[in-house]
């Protein structure tokens, strides 16, 4: 059952917004509505569901409505139309008191520019949500300290925000959001204000934290690399509309339209594509039935200088080179065991292209993709280069 269920959620800024929603239903674009009514469409009938424990990323360029969308979810901005169901309760129709309670207990938000209270210490900042709920001083101080320990700031509790670096400040932001143990974490460009190295560190840390806490996270970003890195699923937004929802692979491999494709073009594919996407079916010889002559014959036919050796169950033994095999054939040897090389460059199905690129650089043979000791495929240099250049890649990895 989804934790967040958004249906037909729209936000139109300006007067007579209700009338303009009718035009949305008629399918008019953002520009047409602006021309006709003078209203700006912030979010155009967005619908999606977020499952429990999922990291759902909403990504788009600035002006695409993603920040508005996240604020519609905790109603920092009033929706014009549509519903936001959290645990089967519609936030859009709630009265103020109920809304406050949901914000206090179920939703927490992390902000792009941290939004820490400068007049409060780190501990007091982390306590804020609990203090608002009226939890007594000892209890909230204990919970806030736990939360700060979790993000590694346990020793800074009596400092003020201005004394910390950007990365540390955002950790406080995260600790503050986590302190009241919400079900849903809304993260609005939470790492965008940090420099690239720190950003990556924070992403890793978020994923690590998520492994333990299993929150439902709605993460807003304009950075596709970030989206692909941390998202379980990604929604792409343009002009207030959600244009595609899918897993990172689906979005990369199968962009829904030109807009998505444009986005994808900029992505550093080496970080996203995995071994399974670029491997191809291997030519092999069976150690139990093939001798040097058979191996030589197979290599000559396929134009290979080396070949992988497996058994009937495709368990990987190693590889043999053409030179060794022809020497063995001349000596009339029947067995491949003596000339087997076992220093195989191995990758698993999920090894990223980035790593493969480094491995393949100084490897004399193709890289073996192995799962449970079994040879699943091989990666040749050409496939890596082709994938990096952005040419066709298939998710099944049947061609390179």
């Amino acid at each position: 059952m989804p934790v967040i269920k958004v249906e037909n959620l729209s936000k139109i800024f300006g007067k007579n917004a209700k009338q303009a929603t009718k035009l949305l239903d008629e399918g008019l674009s953002k520009e047409e509505i602006l021309k006709k009514t003078g209203n700006t469409v912030g979010v155009n009938r967005a619908s999606f569901e977020v499952e429990e424990g999922e990291i759902f990323v909403i990504m788009g360029l600035s002006g695409s409505g993603k920040s508005t969308l996240v604020r519609l979810i905790n109603r920092l901005i009033e929706p014009t139309e549509g519903s936001v169901m959290i645990d089967e309760e519609d936030l859009a129709k709630m009265n103020k008191q109920d809304l406050r309670n949901v914000r206090r207990e179920k939703l927490s938000m992390v902000f792009q520019k941290f939004a820490l209270f400068p007049h409060r210490t780190i501990l007091q900042n982390a306590e804020f949500g609990l203090e608002v709920q009226g939890i007594d001083k000892e209890e909230r101080s204990k919970l806030a300290k736990e939360s700060l320990d979790m993000v590694g700031l346990g020793e800074y509790i009596h400092q003020f925000p201005s004394q910390l670096s950007g990365g540390m400040q955002q950790r406080v932001g995260l600790a503050r959001a986590l302190a009241n143990d919400p079900e849903v974490l809304l993260m609005d460009e939470a790492f965008s204000a940090l420099d690239p190295l720190i950003r990556k560190e924070m992403q890793d840390e978020l994923l690590e934290l998520q492994d333990n806490m299993k929150k439902t996270i709605l993460f807003i970003t304009h950075d596709l690399d970030e989206a692909l890195r941390i998202g379980d699923r990604i929604a792409l937004m343009k002009d207030g509309k959600i244009v595609q929802i899918g897993t990172p692979e689906e979005i990369l491999v199968n962009p829904a339209n030109d807009y998505v494709e444009k986005f994808v073009e900029d992505v550093d594919r080496s970080k996203v594509l995995e071994a399974q996407h670029i491997m191809k079916r291997p030519e092999t010889v069976d150690i139990e039935k093939h001798g040097p002559r058979a191996a030589l014959e197979r290599m000559r036919k396929e134009g290979l200088s080396s070949i992988y050796v497996v058994d009937r169950k495709r368990k990987l033994y190693g590889y043999v080179t053409a030179d060794d095999v022809s020497a063995a054939a001349k000596q009339d040897k029947k067995d491949l065991h003596d000339i087997l090389h076992t220093d195989v460059p191995k990758a698993d199905m999920h090894t990223t292209m980035h790593e493969i690129f480094n491995m393949i650089h100084d490897s004399p043979v193709p890289i073996a993709v192995v799962e449970d000791d079994k040879l699943k495929g091989i990666i040749v240099r050409g496939a890596v280069i082709a994938a990096l250049a952005g040419s066709e890649v298939s998710i099944n990895g049947n061609h390179s």
Binding site: R71, N74, L76, L99, R100, N101, V102, R103, R104, L107, S108, M109, F111, Q112, K113, A115, L116, F117, P118, H119, F128, G129, E131, V132, Q133, N180, L186
Partner: protein
């Protein structure tokens, strides 16, 4: 030949003042009597009962801590206050000090809530802004006239006129300070489910404190600047000495009393400013 005859605006205002005086006589009388007595008690009995050397010592100690344990303000306060007492103006100083304290306190008590209200509502801001402009640009002398009508002469009408003249900066700066709190912080506060009051007391007011204190500093300065004017309607103090000097063409006396006001102004200004920078950190 005038198409429109002269509008009897002055008469209207006279009538309105008269009506107010009559209708609220009980209130004005109460304020005049009891509050007047209290001010007198504070100035003549309380402050004057303190020996001069003790008063100066206390101010010196406060100055030491208020200025962050430096000696500049301490030295200035001690020399300045000693000079005023040396010139035989101590009682006048205590009266002026009382007037400034009460006028400022009342201004702040009225001004801060209005400033908050103004920050929370656009309508209130639209209405209050011209009113505040009016209060500040109207020549301060004019306030003396209704003040006398309501409270006759003495300290009380002096405080009344000073309050009208000195309140606007506190209102303005409170409004400004609250409005200056960044949108993200307000969102952060809202996102944790704060009520309006929680937001005001936990976020907006603490963050606006520096600005509000700057407004209060101005209010105190304006109240002090009313000292001479208020003495025209019988408020006792250094201002009265200045007026006397003026009437008798006695340059020396007037100048020395004026110097006393300057010394008091500098001490009060540095005190309130230092309080501000210290807490703002």
């Amino acid at each position: 030949m005038e198409i429109i005859p002269k509008l009897p605006v002055a008469e209207w205002i006279d009538n309105a003042t008269e009506w107010t005086t009559d209708t609220f006589e009980f209130l004005f009388d109460f304020i005049k009597e009891d509050f007047g007595d209290f001010i007198e008690f504070f100035a003549e009995d309380l402050l004057m009962a303190v020996p001069i050397w003790l008063f100066i010592a206390v101010i010196a100690i406060l100055a030491f801590f208020a200025s962050g344990k430096r000696f500049g303000l301490v030295a200035f306060s001690v020399i300045g206050l000693w000079f005023i007492s040396n010139q035989g103006l101590w009682e006048e100083l205590m009266n002026t000090f009382t007037l400034v304290i009460f006028a400022s306190l009342i201004s702040v008590i009225i001004g801060v809530p209005f400033g908050i209200w103004m920050a929370k509502s656009k309508t209130v801001q639209t209405i209050l802004t011209p009113v505040l402009d009016f209060m500040q640009t109207m020549p301060a002398f004019v306030y003396l006239i209704p003040a006398v009508a309501f409270f006759s002469i003495g300290m009380v009408p002096g405080v009344f006129a000073s309050v009208i003249f000195a309140t606007p900066p506190t209102v303005r700066f409170t409004n400004l300070g609250i409005r200056q709190v960044s949108k993200e912080l307000i969102e952060a506060s809202d996102s944790f489910g704060t009520t309006g009051m929680q937001k005001l007391f936990k976020v907006q007011l603490p963050m606006a404190k520096t600005t509000i204190m700057a407004g209060i500093n101005q209010t105190v300065m304006l109240a002090l600047s009313m000292v001479v004017i208020a003495s025209m309607i019988g408020a006792k103090g250094l201002g009265q000495t200045v007026i006397t000097g003026l009437q008798r063409a006695d340059v020396g006396t007037g100048f020395v009393a004026g110097l006393g006001i300057v010394i008091l102004a500098i001490i009060i200004d540095r005190f309130t400013q230092n309080l501000n920078t210290q807490k703002g950190q």
